[in-house]
């Protein structure tokens, strides 16, 4: 073996340093490379969201679904039900009184907690971070939720409650 002091440490040896100081040392080059990879990963993630929503668009609810009898839900009460679709979504049926009925998705638009109807306040409340929604329109009244609650249309026929997708 040549004893030339200027010869470099061979590549394979560079990764197995003898001194601990060198072993724990992450060079700034490596850090920069890591950041670049991270940047690439974030771009891929962002693109994946677009591809997913283009390839599998969410289908609106089809047809009417029978929920319960009108007499089962008293005025000021609410009734929870689920509709199976491509995924199962929990909904909340609300009897506002005076023959006014509403149905909303039960998942809070903030962090998906279950919302409940408070007749004493006349509002839909999310107990997690005190978000409040308008029980007629689903609009956000107060709190962190960024969007209104998705709504279904309620139809009452012969004492039975049906829901269907809202015509927009």
């Amino acid at each position: 073996m040549s004893k030339d002091p200027n010869s470099e440490i061979p590549k394979w040896k560079q990764d197995f340093p003898i001194e601990q100081k060198e072993a724990t040392h992450v060079s700034r080059r490596e850090f920069a490379k890591f950041l670049t990879l991270l940047s690439g990963a974030l771009a891929v993630g962002n693109t994946a969201i677009v591809v997913k929503s283009l390839a599998f668009p969410e289908k609106p609810l089809e047809g009417e679904h029978a929920i319960c009898m009108e007499s089962e839900v008293r005025e000021g009460d609410s009734f929870m039900f689920e509709i199976e679709g491509s995924k199962t979504i929990p909904y909340l049926l609300i009897n506002l009184g005076n023959g006014e009925w509403r149905a909303f998705e039960q998942k809070c638009t903030h962090l998906s907690c279950a919302v409940k109807y408070r007749h004493d306040l006349g509002q839909i409340e999310c107990p997690c971070h005190k978000g409040y929604f308008n029980p007629r329109t689903g609009d956000v009244i107060q709190g962190p939720p960024p969007r209104r609650l998705p709504q279904l249309e309620v139809v009452i026929r012969e004492g039975q409650v049906f829901v269907k997708a809202q015509q927009s």
């Binding site: 030339d4 002091p5 200027n6 010869s7 470099e8 440490i9 560079q14 060079s27 700034r28 080059r29 850090f31 920069a32 490379k33 950041l35 670049t36 991270l38 940047s39 690439g40 974030l42 771009a43 891929v44 993630g45 962002n46 693109t47 969201i49 677009v50 929503s53 283009l54 969410e58 960024p146 969007r147």
Partner: protein, 84 residues
């Protein structure tokens, strides 16, 4: 024998340092903006807001390419010499 590069490096030892700092600074900036984009997209695109998702995806890709392109200017590692 010393070449131009070597004498430059010896005359201005801070140069690679500055370059490195600049690159890392830019990369952190890019990644931060990308995280911001991704966060916004996750929040928005859940609700039919496709335009926003497309715009941020394009922006994010541009930043990713920019960071890969920056790697071209990454200073060479300082070669460690064998000790005597």
């Amino acid at each position: 024998m010393s070449d131009f590069r070597q004498s430059q490096n010896e005359a201005h030892p801070n140069k690679t340092n500055t370059l490195m700092t600049g690159i890392i600074f830019l990369l952190i900036l890019f990644v931060t903006i990308q995280i911001w984009f991704l966060f916004g997209t996750l929040n928005n695109a859940l609700q039919e807001n496709l335009n926003f998702a497309i715009t941020t995806a394009v922006g994010s890709l541009v930043f990713a390419f920019a960071s890969f392109w920056l790697m071209k200017y990454l200073p060479e590692p300082i070669k460690r010499k064998m000790k005597k």
